[in-house]
């Protein structure tokens, strides 16, 4: 798939939050302030890139040849959970400054559906049915296997990166809107989640335009 097409799709037309509805919980929960939104966005992007980079070879060279595709959910979620743990430890050891800025968001990333979503979407069996998937016959562990890949390794990692940046874009924009909206007088029933979702509604309308192009 064309890299440029992936980038534009991941950032705007196919934005994870606003058009695919993945990662809505942090989108609504950690968007009170722009600073925390940026921290969450960076944490999600980092974990997404590493997830794609690690899960892709695991799936393609281990699960598919062994015929264990049905274990993908378990494998992906375990990889994500341990990755987050390792990232947390590494940050704590080597860059305490970054850890204190980003550390509190990392545990939340494990249960963020955007991460598992990108793994399933870019790598897992879900990708088989998408258009543009290419077919490959390979011999691994002495078995001849038919394989369907929607993405090559490079484009899987790049799409992980840009889906993450798309998430960051959406959450930072919403945080900006919310900071303004907090100063307004709104009806009591709309306070909290409803008014945030109305803001998200207008953002979704704006992003919807990209899908028409």
């Amino acid at each position: 798939m064309d890299i440029f097409a992936i980038i534009v799709a991941a950032l705007f037309a196919d934005n994870f939050v606003l058009s695919r509805f993945l990662g809505i919980c942090p989108f609504l929960g950690v968007s009170k302030k722009v600073n925390s939104a940026v921290g969450m966005g960076i944490a999600v992007t980092a974990v997404m890139v590493i997830t794609c980079a690690v899960c892709y070879p695991l799936y393609v060279y281990l699960l598919v040849p062994l015929g264990l595709e049905y274990l993908e959910i378990l494998v992906f979620i375990l990889v994500i959970a341990s990755l987050v743990q390792i990232l947390e430890m590494v940050l704590k050891k080597f860059s305490p400054g970054l850890y204190s800025a980003m550390g509190i968001y990392l545990p939340l990333v494990t249960t963020n559906c955007a991460i598992l979503g990108v793994a399933e979407l870019v790598i897992g069996t879900v990708a088989e049915n998408t258009e543009g998937a290419f077919h490959m016959v390979d011999v691994i562990f002495g078995h001849r296997v038919n394989m369907w890949y929607a993405y090559s390794y490079g484009s899987a990692v790049v799409s992980g990166l840009f889906y993450g940046i798309g998430f960051t874009l959406a959450i930072v924009l919403l945080a900006g809107l919310r900071q303004k909206a907090d100063k307004l007088h709104v009806a009591k029933a709309l306070k909290g989640f409803p008014i945030t979702m109305l803001a998200a509604c207008f953002m979704a309308m704006a992003f919807y335009v990209f899908t028409l192009v």
Partner: protein
Amino acid sequence: MKLQRFKEIALDGTVRQNPTFRLVLGTCPTLALTTAAISCLGMGAAVTFVLICSNIIISLLRNIIPDKVRIPCFIVIIATFVTLVRMFMEAFLPDLYDVLGLFLPLIVVNCIILGRAESFASHNPVLDSACDGLFMGLGFTCAITLMAIVREVLGSGKLFGITLWEGFSIAFFANQAGAFLTFALFIAIFNVCYNAVERKLKHRAAHKAVEAENKAAAEEA
């Protein structure tokens, strides 16, 4: 389990702590799948099944799982049941499997399930946890199906896939922005109704207490 406790769990799961409208958890499938009521029923059933099973297992293991690694343990248990549901659906309900698509594996990271494991099943007996799973699942199913009915009728003029009005559709409600708007309005309306009922019940309870006091005072006299 006492009847009183059962009633409490049932009311908590479906109304007082409704996972969708009160706790605002599991928002991703809520927003994404509510364009068709049928797929919401399927999703609700899948989530309810996973919720009951994972609650039972986690409740059984609650004294064995060490506190430090509880989250990975919970996730593995949940992922196992999600894999089961996924295989079952792929084999027996291929149409539903295609419609739910990505959101079927994503039940693993649905915050309702992990939330109930963490806040209920990990320190309550088995039967209570099973009931909690059932009613939380029911609350979720009812909430998303209600939303889906509104969005399906307005967005495509259909209800459960049956055309009600030929040619009627407001595309806004079928796409992403409509999902956010409908959800926002549903939460607002639900909370207004809930608060009104709560106030009335409190008022009635206070009234009853005063009456009982008066009665006691009269009897004393």
